[in-house]
Subunit: 466 residues, 2 copies
């Protein structure tokens, strides 16, 4: 990360006050200290007032402060949080044919991940995917790497140098019955040994885990032996590190779990009995959970990464976000590349809106059908504050509040002139009569990376469009 200075951001700030509501702070100043933390948020404040009142209160001098003001129509939004993404699969985005999970893994995914044992190839792919993620406004991500220690460590290095806040996990997979010969850990001990090597590396490059943190990553129950799951559970207890894995994505996968773990009650319990289910556990998908599983997950405080684009592409089914919320489970969004095709969390917020309507299609007329649908505000919560909570960053990022770190996107929309010609990059056409709520809806549905004019992580500029 670049060297830090104190900064003042001026203009409109929009963020999730709650699941249901966005805060719109106009004419506001957000002051960010040299560590990237928000030191003050002052509404009804212009540049003059910042200079006359706010800086003196903070004891900051004007000379040492960088000021960045929104242009007309622009606003700051919290950086997006991608709670589930497989970096080595990036070259496969959009390529999935008619497969579903298990044949998708063997046809496309394992061969691609195995390819990245070549570190040069890994560098190329990881650089490309991190750059894309940041350009779409992603500032934090929980990332599944591949099996290789060297390439996983490289991924952590690149997150740090390119400025992406990340959980980085080397995938563990030692079950000979389900993993291909060319892509399988030798033993349960091997899974743990390699994971420890990756943890040690991150401890070296980011000792306080300020930006990058290791995450214990059993790929998913069907690819791990009970012995490996148990050892990884012990490692979790020993290190206090978070865990990420998959759950109940697809019917074939669930049948396989029942077959491989015949004595365990259900899929969620497989993780629980091996000590892998806790408040820092991220479970991707959770499409087909039973009531008992949802109750167990809520009790443990484990979190869910909803991956709407992936679930639709791989015909996995329709995850029920409202249903999960009703049961007390925190939810964020995952791009799940390359099960999902897009590096954009905004695109996945859009897809979450659509998938919630597909859930509603399957519910008889009545209040539950209506409730199943997610609002614009709710999917943007999933994309930011919800995701931050899923990643264990709920106190640190996802909103513009004093004490939080400044992870933000400066969003600019297009404006249609009187002659019908749009000014500004991208596909969001504002005519001028829209409310802020309507502009946000337009951005959600037609926005892309062109609307992410600049991106900051911990107060440091990590991306800017020319």
């Amino acid at each position: 990360m670049a060297s830090r200075t104190r900064k003042v951001f001026l203009g409109t700030f929009i963020y999730s006050k709650s699941r249901e509501e966005l805060s719109y702070l106009v004419n506001t100043a957000v002051c960010v200290d040299e560590s990237g933390k928000i030191a003050a948020v002052r509404e009804g404040c212009d540049r003059a007032k910042v200079e006359a009142e706010v800086l003196p209160e903070l004891g900051w001098s004007l000379e040492e402060v960088e000021v960045r003001a929104c242009e007309e129509g622009q606003f700051f939004f919290p950086g997006f949080v991608d709670t589930h993404i497989h970096a080595p699969q990036y070259p496969n985005v959009g390529i999935f044919g008619k497969t579903t999970l298990m044949d998708w893994l063997s046809t496309y995914t394992f061969p691609m991940e195995a390819k990245l044992a070549a570190v040069d190839q890994a560098r190329r792919v990881y650089t490309a995917v991190i750059r894309r993620m940041i350009s779409h406004g992603t500032t934090s991500a929980a990332i599944h790497a591949a099996r290789g220690v060297e390439s996983t460590n490289l991924l952590a290095d690149l997150c740090l140098s390119l400025g992406l806040r990340a959980l980085v996990g080397r995938v563990c997979m030692d079950e000979k019955r389900t993993c291909p010969d060319f892509y399988c850990d030798e033993s349960p001990e091997d899974s743990v040994l390699h994971t420890r090597a990756c943890i040690a590396h991150v401890q070296e490059i980011d000792p306080g885990f300020e930006m990058v943190k290791p995450v214990i990553t059993p790929r998913f129950a069907p690819s791990c032996t009970a012995a490996a799951l148990g050892l990884l559970g012990e490692l979790r207890k020993e290190t206090g590190l978070p865990v990420q894995t998959h759950i109940s994505e697809n019917a074939g996968e669930m049948a396989l779990v029942a077959e491989l773990f015949p004595d365990v009650k259900d899929y969620a319990t497989v993780y629980d009995v091996h000590g892998l289910l806790g408040p820092d556990t991220i479970l991707a998908h959770a499409v087909h959970l039973s009531e008992d599983e949802a109750a167990l997950i809520a009790e443990r405080g484990a979190k869910v990464s909803h991956c709407p684009s992936s679930n639709s592409c791989l015909t996995s089914g329709h995850a029920r976000v409202r249903w999960l919320w009703d049961r007390g489970v925190e939810v964020g969004l995952g791009t799940d590349m390359s099960g999902g095709y897009s590096p954009s969390v905004l695109e996945n917020a859009r897809q979450a809106s659509l998938v919630s309507r597909h859930v509603a299609v399957g519910i008889p007329d009545g209040p539950e059908k209506e409730r199943a649908k997610l609002t614009v505000e709710e999917v943007l919560y999933l994309a930011t504050r919800g995701g931050a909570r899923v990643m264990g960053l709920g106190e640190r990022v996802g909103a513009f509040e004093v004490g939080m770190e400044f992870d933000a996107v400066l969003v600019g929309l297009g404006l249609v002139g009187e002659d019908g010609v749009a000014v500004g990059e991208g596909n969001v056409d504002v005519f001028g009569w829209e409310t802020w709520e309507e502009k946000i809806a337009k951005w959600l549905f037609n926005g892309d990376d062109r609307n992410c004019r600049a991106v900051w992580v911990r107060g440091t500029l990590v991306h800017e469009r020319a």
Copy 2:
């Protein structure tokens, strides 16, 4: 349209040979005559061979010919066909809240359409939407205008001057029980009179209907009296003009049709008994058709515009494209802005792929579940050749074949360098090892207007990215 010259296009040409298969013509020359028609398609042909062999055969001299060659990695694809779009609703894209069809119409749609009675406003909106459509590679569109004659005529003028091939229809809606006071035709005769005025205007500006053609447009059965439908059916018989309308989008709408037309067997039959169902009829949505209705539509040769984005946004349900095809109904894609949020037919092809998977989720395991899913090839067929057939343009556009007119997009994808930095605009990252089929899949899922480097309609360049 600009003045015409003979042109030779060189490089890779990809188009739907059939529903199931794309043709990949590499090292190919496509020669386009001064009227925009394809005069020759020659595979295994470079610039030298064009000069030495093809031009002499055609009797064309080198001096009079413009040559446009693909750059490395680029390809020509047929222009997209949008078989259902409401131009006056464009400012509302993305704004739909939790509404479904009937409350969406009253809350957002009728007020916006009524606003465009102001011709200056209409000019601004129509210019913006046509420019967006073309920039996304749309070369033909079946457009619902608003109620106003003057604004509808302006829309036809703009399609002609900006170079969009279009069916332009003034919406007819005279049913006082369902249309708001501020937005309703005075009488059935009024609906026809205004439609005739719009037909007369197009006859003046494009006498042969070469680029723009009027289309008889009863909004949908619930907004028209039986008298108006009957008169519009007679107008169809008299003029031989095409018809566009909506069918079976939503449960509330279907109930209303049953209530308003209690003596008619079903929704499709309402159109049929009024003489509105024929080979030139475009029926948007068709989500909830019965077997009898599908059989009637197939028998009449009427076509369906599938609007996946809109159907998902408005929780209308999952239209079954395979089911329609199995029953002999031709299908194209509609963006249905602003029920759908995107001006892009490519985005709707992507959504058609996803929606077909949502259809599959609802089908028990077995071959029908698998068949329900649409392939990359099939959704691109819907977006081009299928759409052309729906619009009555099947002999004229949608492929690169001798005798057809040259409506095309030059597509460019991005290339990831060895350093992981992508070269080229847009989000499609090619690593270099992909097959053509894989590159097409990547484009389908992550492509946007940035990949549409240039667009031609009838051989005339109508859009080019700097």
